[in-house]
Amino acid sequence: MAAIWAFWKSDTWGGRSWAFMVFLSIMVLHSLAILLFTRGFLLTRTELSQYSQCSDVFESPCFPPYDQNVNNSNRARGCWTKPAVGRLVIILLDALRFDFVAPSTFYAVKKPWMDKLQVIHELASKHPSTARIFKAIADPPTTSLQRLKGLTTGGLPTFIDVGNSFGAPAIVEDNLIHQLVQNGKRVVMMGDDTWLQLFPHHFNVSYPFPSFNVKDLHTVDDGCIKNLLPTLYKEDWDVLIAHFLGVDHAGHIFGVDSSPMIEKLEQYNEILKKVVEVLESQSSPGDLHENTMLLVMGDHGQTLNGDHGGGSAEEVETSIFALSLKKPPTSAPAAFDNSTCQLDMQGRRICFSSIQQLDFAVTVSALLGLPFPFGSIGHVNSELFALAAGTWSLEKLAIHDRQSLSELDEWMQNYVNVLCINSWQVKKYIDVYSSLSLIGFSDKDLLHVSELYAQAQELWSLTSESSVVHENESSFTLPAVKRQLEAYSAFLASVASLARSNWTEFNLKLMGIGFCIMLFSLVLHAFSIKRLDNLCGHHSPSCGNSRNSFGMIFACIAVLTRACSFLSNSYILEEGRVASFLLATTAMLQLRCAIMKKMMLLEALLFVFLLPFLRISIELAQLKQAVSSLFLKMDPLRTPGINEDSQFWMSITQFVPILALVIVGYLLYKSIGCYSCHGILKYVIVGSLSNFMLIAIYWACNSDLLNLPMVLRGLKGNLIPRIIYAVGVVQVSFLSIVLLLVRETTVNLKESTVIKVLAVLSTWSSTIIVLSGKQGPLAVLALLIGGWCIIRLMRLEQNTENKYSGSSHFYALPVTQWSLLAVCMFFSTGHWCAFDGLRYAAAFIGFDEFNLIRQAILLTIDTFGFSHIFPIFGLPFLVACYYPLRQNKRLFSMQLCQVYLMYGLITAVSVTFTILCVTIQRRHLMVWGLFAPKFVFDVVGLVLADVMICLSSLYYIV
């Protein structure tokens, strides 16, 4: 800050150190803004790889369900709790709104889609003690994948779950399905194939159906229906999961208030009726479904338009309907009944209770007697748990035969014990999490949670001691148990709210502060440019002219249009083509200008005809992206169909890159010849030339077309890429030696700058080319041609009086074009702003084994090589090529500084708009699929650009 202030105050040009300080302070501002914003926006959670074990329960202070010393082989007795349910049927209806299930009398107006699932109303009113409707509250993000993860792990999945699986969606955390499999339960799955991606090896039998096509309402559902009823009669499973997608798809296509939606709901009503019939027909003692529980549930809700993903009430409110087929002798304890009741249209009394979706995993585990998933932070729900309450009350009574113990007391005692285990497990998770994760909870919150747990535990030790003392009498008194339950509930609730604030809620304050700092940095940037303009005006009267040129206006329009386009998800998907459209527009305008002035015609034409090639390669990259992207629908016919298997085409793809490499090498060779360059820099460039030869040999070795002699076969492996990296490192160190030791003595600034730029670019080029593979030299060639055209076309803007114009107005258009070209290069080299857009293969060129830092560096170079490294280090060409001989050094340095400031500003403006966009769209359906990855790429790019601009200012500015 001080530097900028001093820079502002002084009327003179401070030289290299001043420029460096300015760039450094801008970088610090950007980093600060990004850091704050990211802390508020990108919620991260570390996935732990610990799994709960059956025997862990003996470490807890609670009563185990069976004695440790008695034979452990009897698994049927359960693991952490006594199993209350033998078999479980889960029917998952995707995007089930709560008002699909609840009677319409709960709402002011009856809508056409309500009261369609009549079978649920009937069951809930007929058997209030065994069947119950729950309003299930999900946590955002309400997308199916995250919700399935949340349902099974009992945690709160975030956008970035830092874990071992990088890319593959399989769940590596402890989860319900894993516990089922570990404890010998057999799981059958049918429906949405997302389950198979999440749990690739868990199911005994699975009937997956493709969920990809949103317009297909029936494939998944029909597949489920076909398999569901026959499976119900079979004995070879313990847990059945049927995932129906029709409602979700109908919502996406037609909306909630539509006839396909109502047809779907009516269809589901029929299916549920049949399922219940089958289950009830076999529910008498000794039958197949004697001890079965049916759960009909949604994973999330949807808005009336069928969207989901955000956190609005319509999206998070879904439903769980639970039906226990074992009739308990008495009704569940009324003490825990928090339900709301209403008469429905037929005058039946229907009640519903609330449950957090977070609690699902742990409650189901408790019902089945499984260990609770390690990362679960849920709370065993009393009402869902109570539905199966009668089953073990009976058992216990038979064992103890103690009349003094009322059933309620018995139930309470069990429930308290379950909650004790539950609290112990959650506390263990919180402790392990805060010791292992990178960004844990704050100490204050942890202390508070620990205090609550300590209180509850103290209470527990008192009550359990008393129970041991009074072995033969009623062990718990009701008030004591109630206090105990409250203590545990308080602890679990505080953990859940702590976790929610850390993992699901955006910190708007931090985001706002970050955004404001970003805006401030933009203002500072703009004023620095203005300031430099004025300074420049002092030095040379000719360049102070502040006429708003057409180039300046158009550059502003182009930058702002591109920035504003980020506010729409479609334009983010098509970002590459938008950039090429804008670049093409500038090129066409320049062509027109060239025709008008009758000069530079060839360059303008070349530039114009370079762009379609860039665009076609962008479209090819989009084709690749469309394969894996849910959002981008690309018409494969849009790009010219090429039969890639033909022999001719194969040899073309082998030959052309090497030819391009030779051309690039030749151009580099010619350029050293042109300029008389001194010592070290010359060797650096020669080093790159030899690297090019090595690359050519490497590719020739790896190609199948040539039958190489045996000698060269040995080079096929990792040797050549490693040599190239090593040479690159040596070259960079030489360059820094030049920077540190050799002081500028040459008079000819232009020539020395060009040589320096060439040296840096050639140093990077060999590494970048080898990383980006066959497309590398072609892209370098395209970049060279594009850059050369932009530089040549700058002449068009020069004043007709042929005076040297040096203000920011002069550089605005070329710098904008330069940055647009950089954006085009990013997309046309096969990248896109998503994590599957990273070319992971590039990270393993030259290496077989994984090393995080090394591979991350290679991946960064590959990703940002063409879009950041080349354009930024090559930017001085813009100044140097137009710098007339024998002008003063100062002016040159100022121009250079100006160009870098402008480039930085253009990058920063688009990043600011991306930040604005993710702030506005933070509850958008695609926020995690599209906006957040775009944000991450942009932010990383901005910081990289800032770093490189700082380095360049040190290196180039004299």
Partner: protein
Amino acid sequence: MEEKKKKQQSINPLETKNDPVLCISPAKVLVLHLICGLGLASGFWAAHYFYSINLVSNPAETLRLIWIVEASVVILLYSLFRLNPDKCSYSRAVVGALLGLPAGAIVNALGAIVLGAPVGLQHFRKTVHWSLLMSVFTLVPAASVFGSSWTDWHRIFAQTKPIGPVDYMICLPAHGAVIGAWFGAWPMPLDWERSWQYGTSQLWQSIVRSASRISNTNQSWGRSEELS
């Protein structure tokens, strides 16, 4: 100041030339634009009523119909205003315009491809018809009026320095069409999945064109008032 001077300079030759043909009454300009507009409308109408096709369902066929109708109107009308009627007969101007049609189409097609039109055989017909229509809007009027006079072409399209009502009559609608087509490309990436998004190019084009035509007419009107 400089700009004003330039304007004065550019007006001067008009006065010195004093060519009878160049001085067209605003009424004539209005009628010409009206007929051109009617031609476009009748093209749409014919497509709708006789073939029941439109830009969304059958873009290539509709475009073909429209450009054929509009081309005949434009060529026949604009050839009336040919630059020097003494040396150049009416039929010669028509032939020149007919030759200019495919040439202009090539230029427009190249421009469209540079800006992002799809390249590929299955889109070939659409591109061809679209660029023929654009050619009718942009280069054909100039071809029928100026023939192959390079200086006039250069003046209108490169420098945008029209002199006199005829120049404006050619220059404004042509630029309007290009600018309209440019704006029409913007809604294309939006994922509303409406097929008209690809037809908007035409819509915008006609809007901007008619706007420029109106301004053209107004301008010539204003000028005639000044003169009188």
